[in-house]
Amino acid sequence: MIQFQNIVKRFRRQRVLKGIDLTIERGHRVALVGSNGAGKTTLIRCLLGEYICEGRVLVDGMDPRRNRREVLAKVGFVPQLPPPLHMPVGQLIRFSATLCESDPARMIEVAEQLGFDAGHYHHHAFVKLSGGQKQKLLIAIALGRESELLVMDEPAANLDPEARHIFFELLAQKKERAAMLISSHRLDEVATLVNRVIEMDQGEIVLDDRVADLIDLSSRLSCTLRLLQPEAAFAKAIAEWGFSDVEAGVIWEGTIAGPDRLRFLSLLSRYAALLSSIEIREAETQENALRRGSGINVV
């Protein structure tokens, strides 16, 4: 679907991309990782036809610069930093839907699924929304249309755990039909979402690896945590994940999205000395029950 052929990008004399060759097919969910200045954003901008570069970028055989409308009609893009648009939410949805020849109602529906009431904020300026609300709306615009290529820069960074779960479910619905390119500074943020990892460093691809695709994007995990003693800082952190206190701040229960497990364990690692046991089980869904009987994972 996407071909980068010997892509070189220079800013004045500095070569920011140094001959990138890469092919991405439909169904590939690619984590594009690397430190600041590795060339991730530049590569994405070349893909979107926003940068002029040497070499060839092709999306379904078309040059994104020469065939802007045809190529970008297939692309749903979520930037890392929301743009400071003054236009109201309703206008942004209408503008995007008209350009993408999509139904604005579908975008509004996706926004509502993510927990953002686009109807209520119809006349609010986009720039005045909170970081999480902006992110939800931009995701809704990208996913609420017939996109075949999703390009996302740290897409779930500002989302609350429930919205993250819905977001993963929405991605799961598209995973067979679309290619995804998810850019992040940290692999653990996106590792469980993808089936391929590409690492960039100083304008070159230094790693291109396939990842076992075992995690169901729409799965949920039930968790029970036992502490040696109650701890206020832990209580605050775990409450943000929607966990409830079952016994005097010592036993906590809740659910997390399957692809969020690494992120969640990373949180728990900060309180390792406080934890006496961790129990994580795949939450029973109809699909799971049919597929596996009643398999339980205990960590």
Binding site: R45, L48, E50, Y51, I52, R68, R69, E70, V71, L72, A73, V75, F77, P79, L81, P82, P83, P84, L85, H86, M87, P88, Q91, F95, S96, T98, L99, C100, A125, L138, V151
Partner: protein
């Protein structure tokens, strides 16, 4: 209308390109109306009319002009100095600022052609910069009508056309500067230098010195005719001073070569042509450069 599939496809493409152009223009208008710069801009020009009324300019008489005519003449002279710098700075600040802030990165990831995006912004921005100036003049006229003052309709129409041409001209220059520069600071500096240069070449300042230093008169006149601010200034003078006595000997060149009506036509068409050429050059560069 032809049934040929190729021409039909071209016609559909043309219609959708126009739809996206107006959509981009509408979006730019909505963006601008909510921006702080627009509030300041509208307040300055609206406030100017209020101040002119408050100081009783509509009641005073100078050079035979009284009432609304006097107010409009003063307003237009002040606009000549203020409108270009306001249009230049607000255009380059918001366009270059949008690019820096990531607005281009996001909006240009949507399937819109670069032509529809660029010209949509130009037309949208034109409405936003011209309307407050025009509405302030209309407001003054409406107020005058209520007060029973005679309305100088010919003056109003003529000045509206001149202001429109001046706003379009500096908008085009502003779009060109925004395309050429990559940061708000540089764009703002360049806009200021352009305005200052044109201001220096107004007849009262640099041209006077150049003539004193024995600059060939043809060169001085050529400079005066290519400087859109001077063209505007001369054209506005023409209505209350048809023989351009205030301009001195240069008036002969203008009146001999153009005639009064010819010069008025030139004063409207030349800034429009210059603004369009600058915006066209800006678009050509925009299409061939990195967008964000």
């Amino acid at each position: 209308m032809s049934d040929d599939p190729a021409s039909l496809s071209l016609s559909i493409r043309g219609r959708s390109a126009m739809k996206y152009l107006w959509l981009a223009a509408y979006t730019d208008v909505i963006e601008s109306l909510r921006a702080r710069w627009f509030m300041v801009y509208a307040m300055v020009f609206g406030g100017l009319v209020v101040i002119l009324f408050a100081f009783g300019l509509a009641e005073s008489r100078i050079m035979g002009f009284t009432g609304l005519s006097r107010l409009l003449i003063t307003y237009i002279q002040l606009s000549m100095a203020m409108l270009p710098i306001f249009v230049l700075i607000t255009t380059v600040r918001s366009v270059a600022g949008d690019r820096e802030a990531g607005v281009f990165e996001y909006l240009l990831s949507l399937p819109i052609t670069l032509g529809a995006w660029f010209w949509g912004r130009v037309f949208g921005r034109f409405l936003v910069v011209f309307l407050p100036v025009f509405l302030a003049m209309l407001g003054a006229t409406a107020w005058g009508t209520i007060k029973g003052v005679e309305v100088p309709w010919h003056l109003l129409l003529y000045y509206s056309a001149l202001l429109m041409a001046l706003a379009w001209c500096f908008l085009g220059i502003g779009m060109l500067i925004s395309t050429l520069t990559r940061s708000t600071d540089v764009a703002q500096g360049a806009a200021f230098v352009v305005w200052l240069t044109l201001l220096l070449f107004l007849d009262l300042i640099l041209l006077g010195v150049l003539i004193q230093e024995h600059l060939p008169p043809d060169t001085a006149v050529a400079i005066a005719l290519t400087n859109p601010m001077q063209v505007f200034r001369t054209a506005t003078m023409m209505l209350f001073d048809p023989q351009l006595v205030l301009l001195g000997p240069t008036a002969y060149v203008i009146l001999d070569n153009f005639g009064q009506n010819g010069y008025i036509g030139y004063a409207i068409l030349y800034p429009i042509a210059l603004g369009t050429a600058c915006a066209g050059l800006g678009y050509a560069l925009f299409k061939r450069s990195d967008l964000p």
